[in-house]
Symmetry: C2
């Protein structure tokens, strides 16, 4: 597929790419979707070029789909990266030869690429990547065990996580990531996975209930040895209202 | 100067521009820095192209300086805009003829330009624009009286203001925008100018003092008829701490 991309450079906006940071949550773990191509021994974020006839924000989903088969993910733009030497050395003559890139096309790939970063947080059991070709490996990797990445992808990943953490102060997170009925400790685990640190149980309980998005159900978690915790669900209307208006009523 | 830009297209990243939304605050008013070129009857945001040998984030300041003479402004990137037809019709044969653009260069300007938006909030008395040439007018315009803008600049401006308003929920604002000693009503006016609406006096007082960034001085505002209000200053250490850690201690 990379060969296809290289063959059709005139269909793409010059010097521009997109990179997607897809965080997955499941079983109390935060993972990141990474991809490994045939021509590099390092992992990277799934990304690609932008068609000249496609709106930038729409093309992010095309890029993700083409590289991973993932569809229907709501991607948010978070930052654009453009250091002068950011893709220097990424493509080189050896790789061009391997991919039979025509000589006259090679300069196109050697120019500086500005990349627009998009991120999403999904339930990774519902978002199963199906690589679009045999030359690439796509995998969910624990965000604490991310290896060396190509280019400035580590920086892009860090910035995406920083944005996601900041979002926790602006809006609630959890809908679509937890089962319909969940316990407060399960919700706390989600916040802890994103923040990368333990939270105080009482403080979390106090803060999360004060937002007013939780409905306490008349049920307890089953299959629990003793002191079964209460089950909750999100009050969908209030949840959406807080997403719209922000977590802190503002000024 | 536009002619200079047009003459040296090979020095610039193809299909990429930068636009700067500079908000100015002074005398309780929120203004926006706008520019009008010789070849359009509409106002627009100050912007320009990105040199191939300059980091994207650094080039924002060069662009701003080249168009307005403004220096030393801390610009924050907030979003990148790339609708397919966003600059369609902006340059045309009439303008190219007027600027004597070589025929072989014209296609370069007709391609889609992705633009990276940067914004800043400054004291506009300290940031006096000095247009770099006679063909352009640069002015501070009341943000409530912004006329029709070129391209998608209205959209870019709206998105910048939305980002600035969101920031009020994340960090304090005011340092460098108010005199060293100020009253709570003066600070409230700043928040009201940004938010575009009146705030309740008591609520504002309660919220702003609870942040812990204000030092109450043993002085009152002079030149005030009666009931002179107290003067305050920012506790610089605490202010910086809150900027670093966020307004709401988080989770």
């Amino acid at each position: 597929m990379l060969k296809n991309i290289l063959d059709s450079r005139y269909n793409y906006q010059p010097g521009l790419s997109i990179d997607c940071v897809i965080f997955g949550f499941c079983d109390n773990q935060l993972k990141v979707l990474l991809i490994k191509t045939a021509y590099s021994d390092k992992w990277g974020l799934p990304g690609g070029f932008v068609s000249v006839d496609e709106d930038l924000d729409l093309s992010a989903n095309s890029v993700l789909y083409k590289r991973t088969g993932l569809e229907g993910i709501f991607l948010r733009q978070f930052a654009t990266f453009g250091a002068v030497k950011r893709n220097m050395g990424h493509f080189n003559e050896t790789i061009f030869d391997m991919l039979s890139t025509p000589l006259e096309d090679r300069d196109w790939y050697l120019q500086r690429f500005i990349t627009v970063g998009y991120y999403a947080l999904v339930d990774f059991l519902r978002a199963v990547p199906q690589p679009k070709n045999d030359e690439e490996i796509v995998e969910w990797i624990d965000h604490n065990a991310v290896p060396d990445l190509i280019l400035d992808h580590r920086n892009i990943l860090d910035k995406a996580l920083e944005t996601l953490r900041m979002e926790l102060n602006l809006m609630p997170v959890g809908y679509n990531l937890l089962p319909d009925k969940f316990t407060i400790p399960e919700l706390q685990k989600l916040y802890e996975a994103i923040l990368g640190r333990k939270l105080d149980r009482r403080n979390f309980l106090r803060k999360i209930t004060s937002i007013g998005i939780l409905t306490k159900l008349d049920e307890k978690k089953s299959n629990v040895a003793h002191k079964a915790p209460n089950l909750y669900s999100f009050d969908q209307d209030k949840y959406n209202e807080v997403v719209r208006n922000g977590l802190h009523q503002g000024w």
